[in-house]
Symmetry: C2
Subunit: 241 residues, 2 copies
DNA sequence: ACAATTTTTGACTCTTCGTCATATTCTATA
DNA sequence: TATAGAATATGACGAAGAGTCAAAAATTGT
């Protein structure tokens, strides 16, 4: 609220912006405290007044990114279609996000490695966990809606968790494999981001989530969701290429 | 073959053993070249005669681990059951491996991060890629066998790749999520390693891979495969707990 | 105007990677 | 067996980056 506090907050954002830019363009190697200090034109000590370790900067970036993802997931949840379309929109959001912010996804994985996590204050870890809860919460809500409205048979074991986890692991795994630079063509495979879309629908079909993908065109659905919900992101992605 | 070369080879293994032990018990932070040198009672320079960077040691560990995994996958491929049981055995192998060697899986992910990969000689990268090909090759063979013998309808798009990729992403994602220490209970979920077994079978069912899981008990199948193919690993796992 | 408080600074320590000139050990030959 | 020459091992050293802290500078309140 007061001027002083606002300045502090803005500098914190400046540090995160700068660090994020370095990370995106030059990788983790180039992200050093000295470099960040030089770039924001303050001394290293000042950077340490804001973040007490390099890891906390990375964690700060992750937090901001997760908030972006939550916003996109929120749009998916609020889509005025049937529940199957809404859960599909989550998949589209996740995939678009992964393509737009590859570096950030890798961050999130870095954050989770124990070596890094140990150096982050418990309070900030709690914050990250709370954001993670929001993400899974949104997906869980859609699954529960589908169960309530009879689109998804409720007599199956482990529901609703198993669907959330199935989609999560598949999306997460494919994103990580994708951006880990495995040469899929040399393994005789196409890009995983395409196939995860197909496989997610196979999984949903298997859970008998109505309407089944045999009764509509999943490619057209993806295009429609892209255009209606994530036009901005789609545009950004095309500009990048 | 000659004594000299054998000594060199043995020391190389000693370095890898030592590094792996440190990594397993104390994490990436504690794995330093000085530490390894001290532990094997040679000088740092000697360690560098074997591996020209810390990253190459990690890569070396990954190679050995991948060879273990390939051996386990091989047992799954050679299981004298139907193809659905054989592909399920791959899942059991992967899961057991993940539980037995959590640190190694995290390594494999570390190896894939661009920062690390840049510091590994092209030749060793090729070796890793070739091992990765063997892993996917085994799975691909089982899928192709199933298609050939009519257990799996061939009129579906993207086959056989999409099944391999579906299982791979799901297994990979769940393992990483599992060992990244996300408190699933706090997110209102059970452990992912249990559910990936369920979801993998859902996926296979969705591809119409006969016999469908509705016609047998997947829990009993897992127990049977555990006992018949991976008794040693199961025993090890129980001893660890 | 000035004292008290807060913030900023960058020199400093510590750790670790990776190098390289020197020292040691091994090997082949006279 | 003695010795030259090759192969191997060593650890002191340089570089780079994380994190600290006492002193300097800026800000605030009276």
């Amino acid at each position: 609220m007061p001027r002083k506090q606002r300045e502090l907050y803005e500098r914190e954002q400046l540090i995160l912006d700068t660090a994020q830019k370095i990370l995106q363009h030059e990788g983790l190697q180039s992200l050093t405290m000295d470099r960040v200090a030089a770039e924001i034109e303050y001394s290293k000590g000042t950077v340490y007044n804001h973040f007490c370790s390099k890891e906390e900067i990375i964690s700060g970036i992750s937090c901001r990114c997760m908030i972006n993802l939550i916003e996109m997931f929120g749009r998916a949840r609020d889509y005025p279609g049937n529940h199957r379309e809404r859960i599909a929109a989550i998949g589209v959001a996740h995939s678009l996000y992964a393509q737009l912010h590859p570096a950030e996804l890798q961050n999130m994985q870095i954050i989770k490695s124990s070596a890094v996590r140990e150096k982050i204050a418990a309070e900030k870890q709690q914050q990250l966990l709370q954001l993670e809860q929001q993400v899974t919460g949104i997906v869980l809500d859609i699954v529960k809606d589908a169960m309530r409205d009879g689109d998804l048979p409720t007599d199956q074991p482990c529901l609703p968790d198993s669907i959330v986890l199935g989609l999560w692991t598949m999306g997460y795994g494919s994103n990580l494999l994708h951006l880990s630079g495995i040469p899929f063509d040399q393994l005789g495979m196409q890009q995983p981001l395409e196939m995860v879309w197909l496989n997610s629908h196979k999984l949903l079909d298997s859970y008998q989530w109505q309407p089944l993908s045999s009764s509509f065109d999943i490619k057209k659905l993806r295009d429609r969701l892209c255009n209606e919900l994530f036009a901005t992101e789609k545009q950004l992605l095309e500009n990048n290429k």
